[in-house]
């Protein structure tokens, strides 16, 4: 039981990181209708920026977090403006290839600047909360503060984004753009600005995910963002790409599946199981758990 609960906590914490990343994927997909494969690498940049500020410059963690969010926001807006905006009318394959190019650009720039040897990233908050105190260590259940913070951040972000998209002018513009950019523009909605803001939000979230993830899984290298990026993308598709609650649910489920698969099946097979579940779900529900299947208009 204790073991099960501890895997559950791990799964929720890991899933929350995936969910925060997946929210970025899903918002960009929902509004710009493109897969921003460089999203995972923005996480890595957020990790390095916060690392430098905290451990090289001795700033408090929250300053580092805010700075990482700021840098990633700018980075996201720049990537969108320079790499994706000129391709707004191009076939989606061209955009996808560009996104892969941007991903490699970020990874290789990081390799040049920060070198290939991984950095050890100490958690921004140490310590843990004892939930069940047993005789021995294996009888006790505790949860690290960073796990609590990760899950909490994920819930706050999810609620905040939901309120943002339904109750604000920009949020409403996003909704209109996600359905028909041309018609939205003719209603006086600035599509370019809306897409920029979407990238800004997604990238700021990637920075948060970067700091939280590196705190829990403390290795930071130029490729740190790739695997979580792919898993979060999986989570977004799993939940229904374009859907904010879908990204949240998908992220948590992928985290839980991975955690339990590692614990009860095999560490090597965990990723295989995650992707196998994705395939099965997509066979049954092609639009993902909460996605709406919209047949292509002829």
């Amino acid at each position: 039981m204790i073991v099960f609960l501890s895997h559950l906590i791990n799964g929720l914490s890991l899933g929350s990181v995936y969910a925060i990343i997946a929210l970025g994927y899903t918002m960009v997909y929902g509004i710009a209708k493109m897969l921003n494969f460089a999203h995972g690498d923005v996480i890595m940049v957020g990790g390095y920026i916060s690392y430098i500020l905290m451990f090289n410059l001795g700033m408090p963690w929250w300053v580092a977090l805010l700075a990482a969010m700021l840098v990633c926001t700018l980075l996201g807006v720049l990537i969108e403006g320079f790499a994706y905006r000129p391709l707004r009318a191009a076939p989606s394959l061209a955009v996808l290839i560009t996104a892969i190019g941007v991903s490699y650009l970020l990874q290789n720039s990081a390799l040049l600047i920060w070198k290939s040897n991984p950095k050890s990233y100490p958690s921004i908050i140490e310590g843990s909360l004892m939930l069940i105190k047993g005789e021995t260590a294996s009888d006790s259940l505790s949860v690290t503060y960073i796990s609590l913070m990760t899950v909490g951040a994920c819930v706050i972000i999810m609620v905040g984004l939901t309120l943002f998209t339904s109750n604000t002018k920009m949020g409403k513009a996003m909704r209109a753009c996600s359905e028909d950019k041309g018609a939205a523009q003719l209603m006086g909605i600035n599509v370019n600005k809306t897409i920029s803001v979407t990238f800004a939000i997604g990238s700021a979230l990637a920075a948060v995910a970067g700091v939280l993830m590196c705190s829990s899984y403390p290795t930071l290298s130029p490729t740190t963002g790739s695997m979580p990026g792919i898993k979060a993308f999986t989570a977004a598709v799993f939940g229904g790409i374009g859907s904010i609650p879908g990204a949240f649910l998908g992220g948590l489920l992928i985290g839980l599946i991975e955690s339990f698969a590692k614990a009860y099946v095999s560490t090597q097979l965990a990723n295989t199981i995650v992707f196998a579940v994705l395939i099965i779900v997509l066979l049954i529900r092609p639009a993902g758990l909460l996605g709406k299947y919209v047949p292509e208009k002829v």
């Binding site: 002018k169 209109a176 523009q185 209603m187 006086g188 909605i189 600035n190």
Partner: protein, 282 residues
């Protein structure tokens, strides 16, 4: 069916026709030598048109004549390669689609483009988008200003929907509406942006004769109550001849005739252009 009083046509020197009541007022729209080429093909060429402040004008012509392209030029979906467009006395050169919307042109589409996953009311409220004045924080935390404004938008949306008696459809998904209602909703959504000039691209397409008759009345009602100009593309000659005060005929991207309904119907060029095309009968 009710027959509408047509404004008496008064030709003015620029070969344009605007109703008498609009004379002495600046026209809402002036196109001068407007044109666009697509890889050498002149889809619209030397298009000159003046629309009076409260005129209902018609743009007709065979399929592929360039009518929708004119709308795309007016709304800057396409950037003109030639000529100028003056809207209410302001040059629109270099303006974006969004700026044009704010300057006062709204349109509907030949292939309906509603936000299908939104409700009818939500669609209208997208048209009201630029009147949202509450801040992001007021929205997220649902502060009093958010509620008062949202209530105002709801009331305004309902008021606009009442033009077509569509209030009771407010909560239906736009995509689930019958075809005619979708066309009407597009007009309401366009009106929500508070235009000076309303462009309607084949508003009666797919409507039955009763719906078309009602639409004619409503277009006139909209012009009268909003005091705006309407430029419409339509194949239904009963509608065009019935309510349009000035009619412009386009063929192969060029204007072949301009005038009142009577003038157009008796114009040999027009009859020739429509030969073999039975849509000219009244």
């Amino acid at each position: 069916m009710k027959v509408f009083e047509k404004g008496k046509m008064v030709p003015v020197p620029s070969t344009s026709i605007i109703p008498e009541r609009d004379l002495g007022k600046p026209p809402v729209l002036e196109c001068v030598h407007l044109g666009i080429e697509f890889g050498g093909l002149k889809a619209v060429d030397d298009f000159n048109l003046t629309v009076g402040k409260t005129e209902i004008a018609g743009l007709i012509g065979p399929n592929g004549a360039g009518k929708t392209t004119v709308f795309n030029l007016l709304t800057k979906v396409y950037t003109p390669t030639h000529g100028t467009i003056m809207l209410d006395g302001h040059d629109t050169t270099g303006k974006s689609t969004v700026q044009i919307s704010k300057m006062g042109i709204a349109r509907t589409f030949q292939n309906i483009r509603l936000f299908n996953n939104m409700t009818v009311e939500e669609n209208v409220r997208v048209g009201l988008h630029n009147r949202i004045k509450y801040s992001t924080a007021e929205g997220i935390f649902r502060l009093p200003r958010f509620w008062t404004h949202e209530k105002e938008f709801h009331e305004r949306a309902m008021e606009l929907l009442s033009i077509f008696d569509m209030q009771d459809m407010a909560n239906i998904k736009a995509g689930n509406l019958p075809y005619g209602a979708q066309r009407r909703l597009e007009i309401v959504r366009a009106l929500a942006t508070n235009p000076k000039l309303l462009l309607l691209d084949e508003p009666a397409a797919g409507m039955n004769p009763n719906e078309t008759a009602e639409l004619m009345e409503n277009i006139v009602k909209i012009r009268d109550s909003f005091k705006i100009a309407v430029l419409l593309i339509e194949h239904d000659m009963k509608l065009v001849m019935g309510i349009c005060e000035g009619i412009c005929v386009l063929n192969f991207g060029r204007i072949i005739a301009k005038g009142t309904a009577e003038e157009i119907q008796n114009n040999p060029e027009v009859i020739k252009a429509y030969l073999g095309n039975n849509s000219m009968e009244e």
